[in-house]
């Protein structure tokens, strides 16, 4: 039996398999994850991955070619595409990446069966709509999603649990592991506890945007500014062709990666800009300190998130045992220095398999059929200031096991609404409000026993808590969803 996991990333995507003994990542010929680039050429099936990325420079400006990058970010923004006049939903475009990962694995890793079902990783803040879009994309490619798991959490699983011979040793350990996952589109930071054979998320923080793709934009602006100053070209009315802009983006991305390894990098683009029949080429050197000054604020913001995580978990930096750096943006030396300053040199771990560890963790979860459990109980605040626990910690986050219908009576209908206050708590500390639903009820002074709210709580197949609540006034219930639940797994 083999378990499959897929890390569908903004910049790169990769699938992995686990057979109970070893993990195999389905990387490309260069031993790298597949770039999440899709190259459409008319009606034929698009080309995906390294081949598409390598052709951007040559074909971006040629009619009949369309390249789509960072489709995962578009799913976050819930945008739609038009490809050669035909409208396409983002999930239809994203399904090309899933199809490619599946076909590439079948072609090049022949000793594995086809990927028919897999555990798929998602950023912490992917809501129900975004998860549904990913589910549709995977299903369109013929992959059934066993469950979703948060990317940083999957990374810890991949890092710690690939070798089951180590489990007995891990069972004795109690550790706090901080996962700092900064990729092209999202920053996800999670504090994971290892305790008595369980791994669970304690505190999470993160943000969309202001990641690798945003750094590319900053670098583009810097390059254009410098170009204008050098050539004495006014910024007023300055415009470069969309095709050239796309090539610049491509070049800038390479330079950014280069600057994590070297002190200097250069960008060269012929016929970069033309004005009054005069054509200008772009030759620009960028050094690491110039790049670092551009992104300094974002690095500081990211470290603020780290402080927030520690504060929420009521831990000091010294109480963190390991810090895992995942994702391309985490390789920036300025960030690594900041991490060293906060946590010390020995605790910060740059994984050799940082590009694939998320998919590997998902494959391990898939192999053992682990279903995440709820770490923090879901409670409802009541009128007497007590709390009713809808789902206790340890509840398996599965549609069949986590559903409940609760009828509430309203202790005061004068405001015309019943207030359903959903909270969580950890280690019996104070309750944190997750969501408040105001359910319309009748304001009329009446026999009190008439005002009821019927609330339905259920975990859906996208591992999201859905709540619907209906009062006496409107026929339609009020809905909400909570998608940033903390997950846990018991491995031993």
């Amino acid at each position: 039996m083999v378990g499959f996991g897929i890390d569908f990333g903004t910049t790169n995507s990769v699938a992995a398999a686990f057979n109970g003994r070893e993990v195999t990542s389905f990387v490309d010929e260069k031993n790298l994850p597949h770039p999440s680039v899709i190259w459409y050429q008319g009606d034929s099936q698009p080309i995906v991955g390294r081949k598409a990325k390598d052709q951007i420079r040559d074909f971006e400006n040629t009619p009949g070619n369309k390249f789509i990058r960072s489709i995962k970010s578009q799913i976050q923004k819930e945008e739609e595409f038009e490809i050669f006049g035909k409208p396409k939903y983002t999930w239809q475009v994203a399904s090309e990446i899933f199809r490619f990962l599946k076909e590439d694995a079948e072609k090049r890793y022949r000793n594995f069966q086809a990927i028919k079902e897999a555990v798929i990783t998602v950023p912490l803040y992917f809501n129900g709509r975004q998860r549904r879009a990913i589910r549709k994309a995977a299903e369109m490619a013929g992959i059934t999603i066993k469950t979703f798991i948060h990317e940083p959490f999957a990374a810890v699983v991949g890092y710690l649990l690939a070798d089951s011979n180590r489990w007995d040793n891990l069972k004795q350990k109690r550790e706090n592991i901080l996962v700092f996952d900064w990729g092209g589109g999202t920053l996800d930071i999670t504090l994971v506890k290892l305790d008595s054979g369980c791994l669970y998320e304690v505190s999470t923080a993160g943000a969309n945007g202001k990641s690798g793709d945003y750094f590319d934009e900053l670098l583009i602006n810097y390059v254009i500014d410098t170009f204008q100053k050098e050539k004495g070209i006014s910024s007023e009315g300055f415009r470069i062709e969309p095709g050239i802009e796309s090539l610049l983006l491509h070049e800038v991305e390479f330079s950014k990666i280069d600057l994590s390894l070297k002190q200097n990098s250069s960008i060269e683009l012929f016929d970069f800009y033309s004005d009054n029949q005069k054509s200008y080429n772009l030759f620009q050197d960028i050094n690491r300190s110039q790049f670092e000054s551009l992104i300094q604020l974002q690095i500081q913001d990211a470290m603020v998130f780290v402080d927030k995580i520690l504060h929420d978990a009521r831990l000091q930096a010294s109480q963190i045992n390991q810090v895992l750096l995942i994702g391309g943006t985490s390789r920036i030396p300025l960030l690594i220095n900041e991490m060293h300053k906060t946590f010390g040199l020995t605790k910060v771990i740059e994984l050799p398999n940082a590009d694939t560890v998320i998919a590997e963790g998902a494959a391990i979860i898939s192999y053992y059929n682990w279903q995440p459990y709820l770490v923090q109980p879901i409670d409802i605040q009541l009128a007497d200031q007590s709390h009713y626990t809808v789902f206790d910690s340890g509840t398996i986050l599965k549609p069949d096991t986590a559903k409940k219908e609760v009828v509430f009576f309203c202790t005061d209908n004068r405001e015309g609404e019943g207030r359903l206050i959903i909270t969580t708590n950890l280690d019996n500390r104070e309750h944190q409000v997750k969501e408040i639903i105001n359910v319309p009820i009748s304001k009329v002074l009446q026999s009190i026993y008439k005002e009821r709210i019927v609330a339905d709580f259920r975990i859906d197949k996208d591992v999201i808590l859905r709540v619907s609540a209906k009062g006496s006034v409107k026929d339609k219930p009020v809905y909400t969803e909570i998608h940033d639940l903390c997950y846990g797994l018991r491995f031993a």
Binding site: I380, A383, E405, V406, V407, T411, D412, R419, L420
Partner: protein, 84 residues
């Protein structure tokens, strides 16, 4: 508009879970704010002996705070006389 903290107070109590009634479901009136309970059950609240049996001490205090005082014509809960 700035929301009051009071908005965060729940006005719900559990009556049943998956169709099974909870233990205190029949004592709902004891969870009402006192002034509201007095609107719903005015006769029980006015009668001193009954109200002490029927309502909680917290509810009675809440109710008394809403009674308009004969002296100051405000719901002063007796504080006007204490001042004088």
């Amino acid at each position: 508009m700035k929301k009051s903290n009071l908005k965060l107070k729940s006005n719900l109590m559990v009556e049943s879970i998956d169709g099974v009634e909870v233990k205190n479901a029949k004592e709902q009136i004891r969870y009402f704010p006192g002034d509201f309970a007095a609107l719903i059950e005015p006769n029980r609240m006015k009668e001193v002996r009954i109200r002490e049996k029927y309502f909680t001490s917290q509810q009675i205090i809440e109710y008394q705070q809403t009674i308009v005082c004969y002296t100051c014509k405000k719901p002063c809960a007796g504080t006007c006389q204490r001042r004088s």
